[in-house]
Symmetry: C2
Subunit: 192 residues, 2 copies
DNA sequence: AGGGGCATGTAACATGTTACATGATTGT
DNA sequence: ACAATCATGTAACATGTTACATGCCCCT
């Protein structure tokens, strides 16, 4: 079977389950939401992966169009594989989250830099949350299984995440600056 | 200079800025918090990377101990590089977040599976949030620059994130089940 | 003296990225 | 007819992972 921690084939399966697409269309999909927020991939990894998946029976070519384009659809085996992967609770998975890494590394900056960095985060997360709120307001309620609504659960997830990050950044700033203010007060007191 | 999107050397720099360590100690560090929540790395990538970083003057060996152990410290150039990387706002960075990918792919599951999956998420996020809350309660307030407190900002970040995920999962469940209840009501109404 | 953990490394393999490459179709 | 975009691919390189490999030191 497929390795538990291979994400690209599963991302492709998910998209193909919702709606059959060509490699080219999948590539474009990865240039927008899914690629910018969840998993990046270029056509040079997508095309070989589709061929491999076709060999393994997870997808099949349902239509050949102009310019040699091939439309792929998920097979029954493909659906089963995505389901297996989603419910696979083997958390030996390797984390690789640059955002969170930066959060850890804030502790390695000196206080002024840390606060400057956090202000940037606060600003950025507020923007992103607002952006997603706008996107969600522009579309109707979420309907499971509606291809048009694909990714809206993820969008709401993102919106809440960004709001949480915003709150956290502001909290973190008060932690550091509050403490700095404290220190300068006590050092003045000691000095006098 | 170093590529903007290489995270391992920067993770190592961050740890070495806080406190000089050997490759072995760094490896162990990656087995606990930072490796489980932010960035995974094994000794087979850490040792070669340290050698490369030493060649490039980002770190230096400050002590050679028993069993051929070498203690590394960040150089001034290393500190500057970490700072540069932290503030590098070039967001051409490739996202690769399996968690978020799964959120996207929920839309590809049928409603029963989606709800089951979300229940799992709700449970897991509540557990993780509680775990971090406990960890945070057990340690004192955060003091910037205190090596003992390294990662506490990240811990609070994680706690808030998990709480947000929990709230989202419960909201998402009501979205789907509420909608399913609606549907069965209306189909009964249509049938009668 | 021997087991367990400390401490580092190399080699083969899998995966992913960048650069290079080609040709078909559509719209103007 | 020509430019833009559609549509797919290969090859060289960089990176990361797994398996294999070695030896030292400390404790009992």
């Amino acid at each position: 079977m497929y390795d538990a921690d291979m994400s690209l084939p599963h991302a492709l399966l998910g998209l193909l389950i919702v709606r059959p697409r060509s490699g080219y269309e999948l590539t474009k999909e990865f240039e927008s939401h899914i690629g910018r927020h969840a998993w990046a991939a270029g056509h040079t990894s997508i095309y070989p992966e589709l061929n491999r998946m076709a060999e393994n029976g997870l997808v099949e070519v349902t239509h050949e169009g102009a310019r040699g384009s091939r439309t792929y659809a998920a097979t029954e085996a493909g659906r089963a594989e995505l389901r297996r992967w989603m419910f696979d609770r083997d958390r030996s998975r390797k984390v690789r989250n640059e955002e969170v890494l930066r959060m850890f590394l804030i502790s390695a900056l000196d206080p002024d830099d840390a606060v400057a960095y956090l202000r940037g985060i606060a600003e950025e997360s507020a923007e992103k949350a607002a952006e997603l709120a706008k996107l969600l307001a522009a579309t109707g309620p979420i309907v499971q299984g509606d291809p048009e609504k694909f990714g809206l659960l993820a969008a709401e997830y993102g919106r809440r995440q960004y709001e949480a990050v915003h709150g956290w950044a502001e909290w973190a700033i008060t932690q550091i600056t509050g403490q700095a203010a404290e220190e300068s007060r006590s050092s003045r007191a000691t000095a006098s």
